[in-house]
C-alpha cells in the first residue's frame, strides 16, 4: 500500500473499529474518504449542515448501540464547542477526524485563526488530540483513537496536518 492510499487506510481502520455511521461536513482533504464510505452500503453516511450536528448524531447512535465517526475540517471545530459539553458530561464516545487548514501551504488567510485555535478548542473541552503529519502513520493513529473512544468512553480527535493533504492554491483546489 502506498502513501497515497492513506484515505483507504483510514476507511479500513474505521471499518475494523466497527464504525457504521459517518457524519461529515465535506472537506477537500476528506473527499476520498467520504467517497469510500458513500460506496459502502453497510455504512450510513450523514451529510451535516454544521459540524456540531455530528456530536448529537454520535451520541444518539451510541445510545442506540452503533459507533459513529465524524469528519470535518478545522474551520468547523469551533462550531462544536457547546455541544461537546454534552459529550463530556455524559462521557459519550466521540471520534472526530479533522483535516487541517491554516497551516503550512494555506492559501486563504481567513483559515489561519481557526486552524491555530483548533487544538486548544478541542482540549478545552477534554477532547484528546492526536496530530498526524506523516501519511503512513495516520491509520494507526485513527485506530488507536477509535479504540480509546469506543472502549474507554472518551472523546478523541485526530488532526491530519495540511502538509499531508497538500492543497496549495485555489487552482489546485478547484481542480480536485
Amino acid at each position: 500500500m502506498t502513501a497515497s492510499d492513506w484515505p483507504r487506510e483510514i476507511y479500513e481502520a474505521l471499518k475494523r473499529a466497527g464504525v457504521r455511521v459517518v457524519g461529515y461536513v465535506p472537506d477537500a482533504g476528506h473527499k476520498r474518504l467520504i467517497e469510500l464510505f458513500l460506496e459502502d452500503r453497510e455504512v450510513r453516511c450523514v451529510v451535516l449542515s454544521s459540524e456540531e450536528e455530528g456530536m448529537g448524531l454520535a451520541a444518539g447512535a451510541w445510545l442506540g448501540g452503533e459507533r459513529c465517526a465524524v469528519l470535518m475540517q478545522s474551520s468547523g471545530v469551533g462550531n462544536c464547542i457547546n455541544v461537546l459539553g454534552m459529550t463530556r458530561e455524559c462521557r459519550f464516545p466521540l471520534l472526530v477526524l479533522v483535516t487541517m487548514r491554516g497551516e503550512q501551504g494555506e492559501f486563504n488567510p481567513w483559515q489561519v485563526p481557526m486552524g491555530q485555535a483548533t487544538r486548544s478548542v478541542l482540549e478545552s473541552m477534554d477532547v484528546a488530540v492526536h496530530r498526524v503529519s506523516v501519511p503512513q502513520e495516520i491509520a494507526a493513529g485513527v485506530a488507536a483513537a477509535a479504540e480509546r473512544a469506543f472502549t474507554g468512553n472518551s472523546a478523541q480527535a485526530v488532526l491530519i496536518a495540511q502538509q499531508v493533504i497538500g492543497i496549495k492554491s485555489f487552482q489546485e483546489q478547484t481542480a480536485q
Binding site: 451520541a59 444518539g60 462521557r91
Partner: protein, 191 residues
Amino acid sequence: MSAALHRREVVKALLAQRGDALVVAGLGSTAWDCAAAGDSPLTFPLWGAMGAAAMVGLGLAIAQPARRVLVITGDGEMLMGLGSLATIGVQSPRNLAIVVIDNERYGETGMQATHTAHGVDLAAIALGCRFASARVIRDPKEFDAARLSLLGESGPVLVQVKVVAEKLPLVLPPHDGVVLKERFRKALLGA
C-alpha cells in the same frame, strides 16, 4: 395568538401512549415536562447542548430503525438547531418524529419571546426540508390526530404544538449524564 393546549397535558398524553418508543427530550421545559409525566430509562433528557435534541434523535433513529424515536423539544431549542431539520430531511428516517412544544417563549430565561412569537413557522421549515409530514396544532381536537401521527405515521414527522405560555413547577429528571446514558443503553441493549 391564543393557545388552548397546556404543555404538561400534551406531553403526558403523548408519553402515556409511547409504547416502546425511544424518547429524547430537549433541554429546559420539555425535559421537565417529560419528568412530570413519569421518568423512564428510555427517555434521554438533555440538560445542555441546546439545539442538539433533533440530531440525537436522528442518531438513535438510524441505530434503531425498528423502534419509534420521538424527540420532544421546545421552540427555542429547535430554533437553535434549524440546520438539523435539513440534515434529517436528507436522511428521511421513517421512524423519527419531532414534537415542538411551542410556547413562543424562552421559558428558562425570563419568558422572552422567541422567533415563533413573531410568526416563524417551524412546520413550514420542516416541509421545506423534505419532512414527510409537518403541521401546526392549536386546538385540542387537532391534537388527537397529531398524536397518532407522532407515534405512528411514516416519518420524518414534525408537529408544532402551540401551548399556553405558563410558568410551571420544576420537575427534574436525573441530571448525571453518565447515569442517563448507561441506563438508556441497559434498558435498550441490555449492555
